[in-house]
Symmetry: C2
Subunit: 344 residues, 2 copies
DNA sequence: CGTTGCGATGTGTACGGTCACATCCGCACG
DNA sequence: CGTGCGGATGTGACCGTACACATCGCAACG
């Protein structure tokens, strides 16, 4: 009907070599090739070598799709993440990617733009439609958890950097403990009026840090005051500082993350206040830049990469049918620098 | 031999519903269901509805592996990235993910730990074994390019944030221009002795920024001096500062990125030098924190997210067979804050 | 020396879709 | 009123692999 192509002469499309092509070249059956690929024990060394030679000669690569189809295993782990630009999540994702790749798994990463139910649902749908075998959630917001529960996720999953609720699925740095050691540090320096700038209310981490802060204060019989709820950004820290410093009825601040601490210190400078002379500040995260803030920031270091690695280990174990692997929280560590001093 | 299970009674494994199950429920042939899935035009509205009902009744999800197998299209775009923790790459990756998802593509991301040839080759192999249809490279190092050329990547690819060589595949913010406006700004403030702290020598971006710096200086007939080669980290900026400030034969510094600028300013403080009073500093990137450094940093903003989006658009176009889409570099913008002042 | 057992290898089939082609139906046309 | 045509739908084959099972050859055994 259309153009009359000369069909027989040219091979036309170059099809990627498949397992039968390899078999033909090696002079064995395709099943033997399959055995080589899945390193089955009972193969004669000589045959093995012939097949391997054929594979590299043809530049053969097993077709993952075909394999996934027949085994009904995608060898994919889904990562549901919010705010991958943040230091913590980005670091964790990195570690996860490496660990997954080493274990022969690939990752499918998706970011949620908002914590709206619909947004989360669509992200989960997206991942499920790729038939991920497991799920890692790095979106430590209360609503994400609710959505996850509600969606009846059918695969094993863990949530990172969350504390408290839903512990069977969680893997986390002990945020409460981190907040406590940060707060205790300030108390031990003689501060009695301590402020807290927290992360967004619906972030579980923010909540945990706040709890740790409040508990430590009440254990020391100190006055607690309502924390400020921020959004993790340096800008928020700055504007919060401008507000708070108008009535300066505190001598120390525990800030929910290093970025906000940076902004807060900016506000202090503008008010002509010395850190730590007039105000002591502790951050949280220990981002690489924190050591070079003005002044270098005292903060709480948490090993998120370790958490990422554990997440993969946990999930792979679960996929293998092992149960009850350790969920011990990773312990945070206080890094004392120059943003805190004895109250004067 | 082992436990004697009652086999016949229970359906055992719950198989996910497939296209034929849907067809049975809807009372049509599987081909009709396939037509619905690929929204073919010629379907009676009534039939369409029946099929849709059946799909949602069964909770049917098309099996991507099967689809990929038969169409030999993976609908996957590979991302080869170095240092995803950095602000630029992370932001770009985010934008890429969103754009790809909207276009019905998924991403396969892999990080390279080093720029060793073997490491790059293994990353490319990894991605190719997933039969990615296209590749985005966010690892702007010379050696990565060489490896890429050498590996004869068989799919369309673009490299991000690179300048100069290999332009047919590159998409970038005009780094040379960015460096020039940064340098020009310092010159216009009366500085004649200007230092440059660059990124690692093998990063194409670092090279481009250095070129821009040198060209602008020579256009202004100013003395050029050998730039310091750093590693992008705040720590390096700090130690470089400590060294450089021992012989303070310059009044301004153009630093290759904001993190190193932060470290450098830290060193200035320790030397009792005022920024911008004694030394003017310009950074590069405009990370969100830069506005809150001490002092707020004058820097060059580049829209990496835009680059990421364009990368996807370009690749998708190429996959559709369109040629020669626009490769115009994105123009950077100078953000003047308080780390630069007229020379006194 | 026939049988058994096991290691090494080959054959059939299923996985869940899409594509090419065949079929069916109703309507407009000559 | 037969024919042609196009829209709607169904049938067969195939994509590349892994699994279950069959087969083959050889050594050890009674």
């Amino acid at each position: 009907m259309a153009t009359h192509d000369e069909r027989p002469a040219e091979p036309e499309r170059v099809r990627a070599p498949n397992i039968r092509d390899v078999a033909r070249v090696a002079g064995v059956s395709y099943q033997t090739v399959s055995r080589v690929l899945n390193d089955s024990p009972s193969i004669r060394p000589e045959t093995l070598q012939r097949v391997r030679d054929a594979i590299s000669e043809l530049g053969y690569r097993p077709n993952q799709a075909a394999r996934a189809l027949v085994t009904s295993r995608s060898r994919t782990i889904g990562v549901l993440s919010a705010q991958t630009v943040h230091y913590g999540p980005a670091t964790a994702t990195n570690a996860i990617e490496t660990a997954a790749r080493e274990a022969g798994y690939r990752l499918s990463i998706t970011n949620i733009s908002s914590t709206e139910y619909a947004s989360i649902k669509s992200a989960v749908d997206y991942l499920m439609s790729q038939s991920v075998e497991a799920l890692i959630v790095i979106a430590p917001q209360v609503r994400v958890f609710e959505a996850l529960n509600d969606l009846q996720v059918a695969v094993p999953y863990v949530t990172l950097e969350a504390t408290g609720l839903n512990t069977s699925h969680s893997l986390w740095v002990d945020q409460v403990q981190g907040a406590r050691i940060a707060t205790r540090h300030l108390i031990e320096l003689g501060h009695t009026e301590i402020m807290h700038i927290s992360g967004p209310q619906d972030w579980i981490e923010a909540e945990a840090r706040m709890q740790g802060f409040l508990r430590e204060l009440s254990d020391a019989d100190l006055r607690t005051r309502a924390p400020i709820l921020g959004d993790w950004t340096a800008s928020f820290g700055y504007y919060a500082g401008i507000e708070l410093l108008r009535y300066r009825d505190f001598s120390a601040v525990f800030v929910g993350n290093d970025q906000m601490a940076l902004g807060f210190m900016h506000a202090c400078r503008e008010h002509g206040l010395d850190v730590p002379g007039d105000i002591s500040i502790v951050g949280f995260d220990d981002i690489p830049e924190a050591a070079h803030f003005a002044p270098p920031l005292t903060t709480v270091r948490q090993n998120v990469a370790e958490i990422g690695r554990r997440a993969i280990a946990l999930l792979l174990g679960e996929l293998r049918g092992e149960e009850g692997l350790s969920h011990d929280p990773v312990q945070p560590e206080l890094i004392v620098r120059e943003s805190t001093a004895r109250r004067r």
